[in-house]
Structures are given as structure tokens and as C-alpha cells.
């Protein structure tokens, strides 16, 4: 029960952070809030026994993503223009989506329930037999690199794609001035 209580408090702090990020228009503050959000999420992951995920979320969310966002607002300006009017359509979309999700929770297995289907069908084999079949104590590594190693190859390909994309868009050399104006197709 203690875990649940800690979890609820952390989730509450996440909610406060997210709502503050909606309201602020100084992008520097928004990005900093996102860094805090990631850090809190990483703590939630530790509480929920996902240490590998926590490690990665801390490195990625607090590290890479935040640094990239800061670099971008350094280049693109840090102030968001205030919207002229409160957008109603997005609010409607979000409320409907959220309502659909809440409806979906009504038949969900309860939080922490050891008899939930997720813990019954596929996963017992990983926990019981990976020590013999692969022999590495960290079950997450076993699944990540071997049982579902092909997913990880796909994941690495995604990173590769992002690298190629950033090189194509920004290049590695120092910037040359963009041709200004709305260039149509080249002659």
C-alpha cells in the first residue's frame, strides 16, 4: 500500500507539472518543466520496478530531449505567441479522447493485480526459463536482446533513421545562409 501511496503522490506532482506546462508561454520554462516531468516519470518507473526504463528515461528525457529542445529555442526564439482566443475544438477532442480511455479502464485488471492477464500468458516463460535458455540474470536484457531482439534491431534502425534525417536537414558543417524567399522548384 505504501508503494501505491508514493505512486499517487508522484502522479499528482506530474499532473501539476503538465498543467503548468500548458499555461506557460515562456518556452524556456516549458522545456524546464518537461525536464522535471521526465525526472518525475523516471522516479515513478523506479517505484514500479522498471529500473532499466527509469535509467533510460532519465538519460533521454532529462538529458538528450531537454538539451535538444533548449538548443532549438536558442535558434528559434523562446517566446510563444499567446493565442488570440481559447481554442475550443482541441479541448473537445481531448475530452472525448480522455472519456474514451476512462470508459476503457472500466474493464481493466486492477493496478498491481498479480492475476492480471499480462502476468499469465507469455511472461512466465521469460521469468522461469530465461536463466536456462540464455543465462543472464537481468530478464529485461534477455527479452530485449534475444527473445525480442528483432524489435531492438528495429529500434536501432529508428535511431539510425533519425541520424540520417538530421544530417540531411541540418548537415554537419557550419551553416550556409539559406536562400531567402519562397523558392519554387529550381530551374
Amino acid at each position: 500500500m505504501l508503494i501505491e501511496a508514493i505512486n499517487i503522490v508522484l502522479l499528482g506532482m506530474l499532473a501539476v507539472t503538465a498543467l503548468a506546462a500548458i499555461r506557460l508561454h515562456d518556452l524556456f520554462a516549458v522545456v524546464m518543466l518537461f525536464g522535471i516531468y521526465s525526472l518525475l516519470a523516471a522516479v515513478v518507473f523506479v517505484v514500479l520496478d522498471a529500473v532499466d526504463v527509469a535509467f533510460t528515461e532519465a538519460a533521454v528525457g532529462v538529458g538528450i530531449s531537454t538539451v535538444l529542445m533548449l538548443a532549438t529555442i536558442g535558434l528559434a526564439g523562446r517566446h510563444e505567441k499567446r493565442p488570440a482566443h481559447r481554442p475550443l475544438l482541441p479541448l473537445l477532442v481531448v475530452v472525448v479522447t480522455g472519456a474514451a480511455l476512462v470508459y476503457g479502464t472500466l474493464d481493466m485488471p486492477h493496478f498491481g493485480d498479480p492475476n492480471a492477464p499480462v502476468h499469465q500468458h507469455v511472461v512466465p516463460r521469460y521469468l522461469q526459463r530465461s536463466a536456462d535458455e540464455i543465462g543472464i540474470p537481468n530478464v529485461v536484457t534477455n527479452i530485449l536482446a534475444s527473445y525480442r531482439g528483432y524489435d531492438t534491431l528495429g529500434e536501432l534502425t529508428v535511431i539510425f533513421t533519425a541520424g540520417v534525417g538530421v544530417l540531411a536537414l541540418l548537415g554537419l558543417r557550419r551553416r550556409r545562409r539559406e536562400r531567402p524567399g519562397p523558392g519554387q522548384s529550381p530551374p
Binding site: 538528450i64 535458455e133 541520424g163 557550419r174
Partner: protein, 139 residues
Amino acid sequence: MRDNPVLRVVTKITLPLIFLFALYVQFHGDFGPGGGFQAGVIFAAGFILYGLVFGTEALRAAVPAAVLRLGIALGLMLYAGVGVVTLGLGGEYLAYGTLAHTAAHGQHLGIFLVELGVGVTVAAVMVAVFLAFAGRADP
């Protein structure tokens, strides 16, 4: 930042530790949390720190564009290549058990190699992304 001697000295002392930690995370994933991805990120963080303190030009000189491209490609080729080798040895794609005499040894070797591939590509991509963004700043 570049003119601050304290920062430069501290960085020079810290860098080997960062790289050591990255290697630890890379090869310790078997027992605790960690693995190729996290190690790659930490490795890249070391390079990025170097770039921040000594200037991006210094980092560009230390890691030329051709080397970065090679790193980005090599890691992925290593991972995908392990699969091709297991195909050649008569197993399914990424069936590491075929890599050594016993299945368990093969699994260890296979996981070691693919994690290494992940680490190399992730580190190279991260450094490349950093340089790409840094190169856009007005001089």
C-alpha cells in the same frame, strides 16, 4: 566557457571517468540495469561535454564527419550482420545459439555483439545530432 582554465582542467579529468562509466554500463547490462543504448548516450555525453568546453570546432576536429558516418553505419551493420551470420550457420535470423558450441555461450556472445552495435550507432548519432544543431547557431 572556453577561456576558463578551471573548467578545462576539470573536464580533462572528468572525461576518462565518463568514458569508463560508459564502458561499465555497456558491458554490465547482464547483471544490473544498463546496456548498449544507455552506454551510447553516456559516451556521447562525454564528447558533447568536450565540445561545450573546448568549442564545437575542436570536437569537429577530434571526430571528423567521415568517422561519424562510419560509426552510425557500422553499429547497425554489426547488429544486422550478427543475424546474417546466424543465418549462415544454419539458424534463424538472430538465433544466437548457433554462434558457439553451446546455446548458452552463443546467446552470451550474440547479446554482447548486438549491444555493442547499439552502443556504437547510438553514440555516433547523438554526437552527430549535437554537431548538426550546434553548426546552425549564428557564429
